[in-house]
Symmetry: C2
Amino acid sequence: MSQILSKIPLEDVSKERLRLWLRLLKTTRSIETKLRENFRDEFGTTLPRFDVMAALSRYEDGLKMSEISGVLRVSNGNITGIVDRLSDDGQLVRVSVPGDRRASRVRLTKKGLQEFDRQAKAHEGWIAEALGEFTAEEAREITMRLLTSETPEEEAK
Amino acid sequence: MSQILSKIPLEDVSKERLRLWLRLLKTTRSIETKLRENFRDEFGTTLPRFDVMAALSRYEDGLKMSEISGVLRVSNGNITGIVDRLSDDGQLVRVSVPGDRRASRVRLTKKGLQEFDRQAKAHEGWIAEALGEFTAEEAREITMRLLTSETPEEEAK
DNA sequence: TACAGAAACTTCAAGTATAAAATATTTTGG
DNA sequence: CCAAAATATTTTATACTTGAAGTTTCTGTA
């Protein structure tokens, strides 16, 4: 067994990982570009807006600002502007937290949830198309392998 | 064989692909965040700057502006600002193209090439660490599978 | 040769992103 | 109880990103 494995020189491991990284980047970028275009053309919205709404849709009671940035892995100050605009559009509301005057909880409105559902359906279709080369098994297998290289982050309470 | 495969309901293919997409996104984002931080802390530069220098390093004769954006798959107008700043830093120069007064060819300076070599070494190490869970075989295998879902783009001449 | 159209690039507006500083509000240790 | 530390968020400065509009410069063709 180790004789078979040794056909790949050990020094090349980091080169193979680098190749994988460049491939991951190329694939996700090309899909992201397509999604961005679709969101723009069909819903007049953007990927970051959709991401925030997707995060909120998973939490009945909403999320605090810092929880959103934790879930989405983007910087804290960034969320403010996106939430501001979604709020202007009536897609979500900021609810003040009873015991803590610093924090506010962000929640989708009914309108926001309905809009998100429409977008999510389309989104799933776009992804299924973009990753159409993968069978369910392949998708599942790669997902699981990628699962290992994970750095867990703060979770919403 | 098809009996074994049929354990996975067909309707779930798009769900599996969606899961794969979300995993790809999470993985690449988390690695990108780490890289950004490293570039900042150790070289005082940014990922987009590194990307541009990496592209240029592969072409002895440099690249035209539109070729850079083609290779990196980012929008045309975007490159202008990045190249401006790299030029201010002396990492690259714009050389006018003899027959065409519209175009200019961008080329790394000696200083820029040396700096890029240092950065590229560190970069490879960071990636090897971030993708440390993958053996060379795994990395190679996943790279190849991802290779199929590709949309080719214009190449430099 | 004239000139419409293409090409290369820059500029622009709006939005997104980060890190760091500022503000306001708890919470905690003495 | 109170100053110091921690927490939640916003603000600020700078950079990056896109798509679209604008400028200048070719190029093909009538």
